[in-house]
Structure formats: C-alpha cells, structure tokens
C-alpha cells in the first residue's frame, strides 16, 4: 500500500518515527494500514497523579487535509478529567485550529500548526493529565469537583483506573 496523498505520506512518516522511537508511556499507530486516517493510541497515566498505573486508550481521527488541520482525539472509554468532554473528546489548545479563538484564551503558538505532530499531541495530553487546566474546562462538573473537593476527584479517577485495569 504505497501512501499517495500528502496527508498519507506524512502520516506514514509519523507512524514510522513513532514505531522506531516512541516517547515513554505512549504507543500510537493506525489500526489498519489501509486507513492511515484512523489511529489507536495508548497513554500511560503520569506518575504521582491519580492517573498513575492507568493505561488509557484513545482514538485519533485525522482530516483529509492533515497536517493543515489538526486531528481529533477521543478517549474511549471516556476519562474523568476537567479538559475531557463527557464523550471522551479531548479539549486542549494544540488540537485547536488556528484562527478561531474569539475569546483569546490561547496563544497562537500553543495552537495547531502543521509543524506540530502526533507525538507532540500525545505528550501534551500526558502533561494535561498531570496538570488540568480548569480555566478553560471542557467538563464543567468534573472541573467543580476538581476545584472544590480534590480528594473526591482523586478517588473518582483512581476508581476509574482500577476499573480500566479490570480490578
């Protein structure tokens, strides 16, 4: 299956790089080589956080004009986190296309541009797990618990981690 379009060739390159030299705690690659636009990822919960010991699976869906537009990342099953919507979709600045931020929450250099990569996205997600940003939360209920009752939040996440490991 020779990759043909610019998007396919670029995704192939990124897959190659990740399979040769992936950052610690991250595994990612296309589910099916015939469809490079759909990836499965596994992200390890960062140490010293309630997510520690968890391994979370997420799907990356790339647009046809990648890398001009960013992919979408969705945790499945959804993860309890202030910056993850209830359906599992991740909301962080690196996944936002440049030029539609009317509230100017994010600096342009934090947002998507073609020089970013899957690796950088997944690293950002790992650091997002360690440090939630409740200023621009996605799941308001979780944001509230995180802010008002941290022990409860930690317990909820640990419970989810245990469940995900089948314990």
């Amino acid at each position: 299956m020779p990759p043909k379009s610019t998007a396919q060739r670029r995704l192939f390159k990124e897959y190659q790089q990740l399979s040769r030299d992936a950052p610690e705690g991250i595994i990612a690659g296309p589910l099916d080589e015939d469809d490079l636009f759909y990836w499965e990822c596994l992200i390890e919960g960062p140490k010293d956080t309630p997510y520690e010991n968890g391994v979370f699976s997420a799907q990356l869906t790339f647009p046809k004009d990648y890398p001009l537009s960013p992919p979408k990342l969705k945790f499945n099953p959804p993860l309890i986190h202030p910056n993850i919507y209830a359906d599992g979709t991740v909301c962080i600045s690196i996944l936002h296309p440049p030029g539609n931020d009317p509230l100017l929450y994010e600096r342009p250099e934090e947002r998507w541009s073609p020089v970013q990569s899957v690796e950088k996205i997944l690293l950002s997600v790992a650091s997002m797990l360690a440090e939630p940003n409740v200023e621009s939360g996605a799941n308001i209920d979780v944001c509230k618990i995180w802010r008002d009752d941290r022990p409860k939040f930690d317990a909820m996440v640990r419970e989810q981690v245990r469940k995900s490991l089948g314990l």
Binding site: M1, T6, R10, Y15, Q16, P108
Partner: protein, 333 residues
C-alpha cells in the same frame, strides 16, 4: 504490527543515519526536511520571517491560514521568495542519499567516493534576488501608462495588474469584508514594464506581442497565477478561467474552485523550482490529486462512523411499531 513496520522501513527517514558511522547526518537531513510534509524540501521558498518550506506545502497552508507555521508571524503568499541554492542542495541529497547511506553503513573504512552519474554538473550559481520589500505607495516612477493600469477594487489606487495581484491585494484585503469587492479583469495580453524588484514573486519579465496567440500562451506560462476572489465570480467566469488554463470545467462549483486553487498552488510552486516542469506535467499532477481526493471522499462515505442519532431519526417509527407489536404480544399472553 511487525509486518507493517517492515513496510514502513521502506520510507526514508532522518533516523536512518543514527546507526551509521556519521550519526550527525541525522541533523543535516532533519534540517533539509520541510516542517509541513517532513520530506526533503522541494522547490523551497523562504517566508519574510526567514523560515523555509516546500513551496507547495506553504502555499497550501497559507490558503488556510495566513501565518508562518513556525513563528506565527503574518505571511502572504506573494512575499514568498524561492531559494534556488537550497533547492539544489535538496536535490543533491535526494539523489545521493541511498549511496551515502549504504557506504556509511558498510563496515569497511574505504574512502567514500560518490559516483557521478554523468559528467560533472556545472556548479549552480546562487541567484541573488532582491529582498526589497515592495512598497504599496510610491510607484510613481516607471509605471505603465494610465490605460494599462487597473484600479484596486479596495483602496481605489491605480497600479499595474501585476502589482495589484502581487501583494497589494493581500494587504488591502486584510481586515476588510470582501463581499462586494470585484476582482479586476486582468488583461493577460498587455505589455508590462514592471521592474523585477517591485514584484519579487514574478521572476521573469516578458514582453508579449499582442497578435501572436502562441507566444502569449508561452509567456503567460511564466507568470504567477493570481488568487481569485471567487465570491465575485460567476460559475461561468470560473469555468472560463479554468478553460484558459486548459483544465477540465466539469463538476460542482466547489470542485471548480478547489481545482483552481490546487492548480495555482502546483503552478506557482513549480515556478520556485530550479528547473520548472511543463504545464502538461502539472495538469497530470492535478488529475492525480483530484483522483485521490475523490477516492478519499468515496472511502470516507464507506468507512464513516455509524451515525446513531440519524439512524434513530429515520427509523424511529419502525422502532415504535416494533415496540408496540412486542407489547401487544406480551400483554395478550
């Protein structure tokens, strides 16, 4: 998963050098790679902020977002400048890469001599182009006569069509609502006395005889294709433009526009190459691009995620009937 890794290994990557005698070549290849497509720079151009990308890659991106992908400085397509030396370096690298890699992987310590294919190519002289920023004001000197000038639809100033289609229109359009602006009708068959440094994008200044159609076509081929303001063009007008470029005029309005935009990307980036290809090759490339995007469209229709709510909407009545039927049989028992 293992089989796929083997397949992937067939695509070159800077990390190929890490296992060789000169692992530092990793850095060199990384530097010679375009930040957008991650492949060796092809027909590289430099932005005003000094960053280099493949001409095609950055042109495609600037159509989406007018800023440098690296430093986020505002950039216009018309200010891109080709870098011929870098183009030659990239080409040299691509053609000698596999040999170099094989030699550096080999265990013997023999002196590395890269085989020349034919005779020694003439060393390419770097072309020094004027970096002078074109000024929108102050084009009073050496301008074409009044009738050869066109009026900028935004600011109303008169200037040559080349200057207008260069970066004047980009600058004028910023921050303006372009709904009621008219793309001026550029007359291709006009003599232009434009000086080269005024419009850095245009590299070849030609004088076009008015009466000879063939020569007109040839000379037009050397000029950059202008950005079209589709909002002000009728579908027939767009088709006319495509026909002028000998491109197919079939398809929906959106397809026509996408075709023009992609062709202008291919066309303008081709002019940034040290040895530009004929427009026949470009039309072939456009055809491939269109075939690919069609395949992609068809594919996405097949593999599209099952849309639950839409399904429920269209089949809701049937579900309700089934439930009622089930209830009936349940209660009749």
């Amino acid at each position: 998963m293992d089989a796929t890794v083997g397949n992937i290994g067939s695509i070159s990557d800077p990390s190929d050098w890490l296992g060789t005698k000169v692992p530092k070549l990793f850095d060199l290849e990384s530097m010679l790679s375009c930040h957008i497509c991650k492949e060796t720079l092809k027909a590289p151009v430099m932005t005003q902020c000094g960053h280099c990308f493949c001409s095609l890659c950055i042109r495609r991106y600037l159509k989406v977002n007018q800023e440098c992908p690296l430093c986020h400085e505002v950039q216009y397509e018309s200010n891109l400048v080709k870098v011929l030396l870098l183009d030659s370096i990239g080409k040299w690298f691509i053609s000698n890469r596999s040999q170099l890699l094989a030699k550096l992987n080999a265990d013997d310590d023999s002196v590395i001599i890269l085989q020349e294919e034919k005779k020694r190519p003439k060393p390419q002289k770097p072309v020094y182009e004027s970096r002078k920023k074109p000024k929108t004001a102050g084009f009073g000197k050496s301008v074409p006569s009044r009738e050869e000038m066109v009026e900028c639809p935004i600011c109303g100033e008169f200037m040559s069509a080349e200057e207008l289609q260069g970066d004047h229109i980009d600058i004028c359009l910023v921050g303006k609502d372009n709904k009621d602006e008219k793309e001026e009708d550029s007359k291709e068959d006009r003599e232009h006395h434009e000086s080269a440094q005024k419009v850095p994008e245009k590299d070849i200044v030609v004088t076009i005889p008015k009466d000879q159609d063939f020569q007109v076509q040839k000379a037009v081929d050397m000029k950059r294709l202008a950005k079209l303001d589709f909002a002000s063009l009728s579908t027939n007008k767009v088709k006319e433009k495509l026909a002028q470029l000998r491109l197919p005029t079939s398809g929906t309005r959106a397809q026509l526009e996408a075709r023009y935009v992609e062709y202008s990307n291919l066309y303008n980036s081709n002019l940034d190459s040290a040895n530009p290809k004929d427009s026949v090759v470009l039309r072939d490339k456009l055809e491939q691009w269109e075939a690919l995007s069609e395949i992609d469209n068809n594919k996405s229709n097949h593999t599209e995620k099952f849309n639950r709510s839409a399904w429920v909407k269209t089949h809701g009545n049937e579900f309700r009937e089934l439930i009622q039927a089930a209830k009936k049989t349940h209660f009749s028992k």
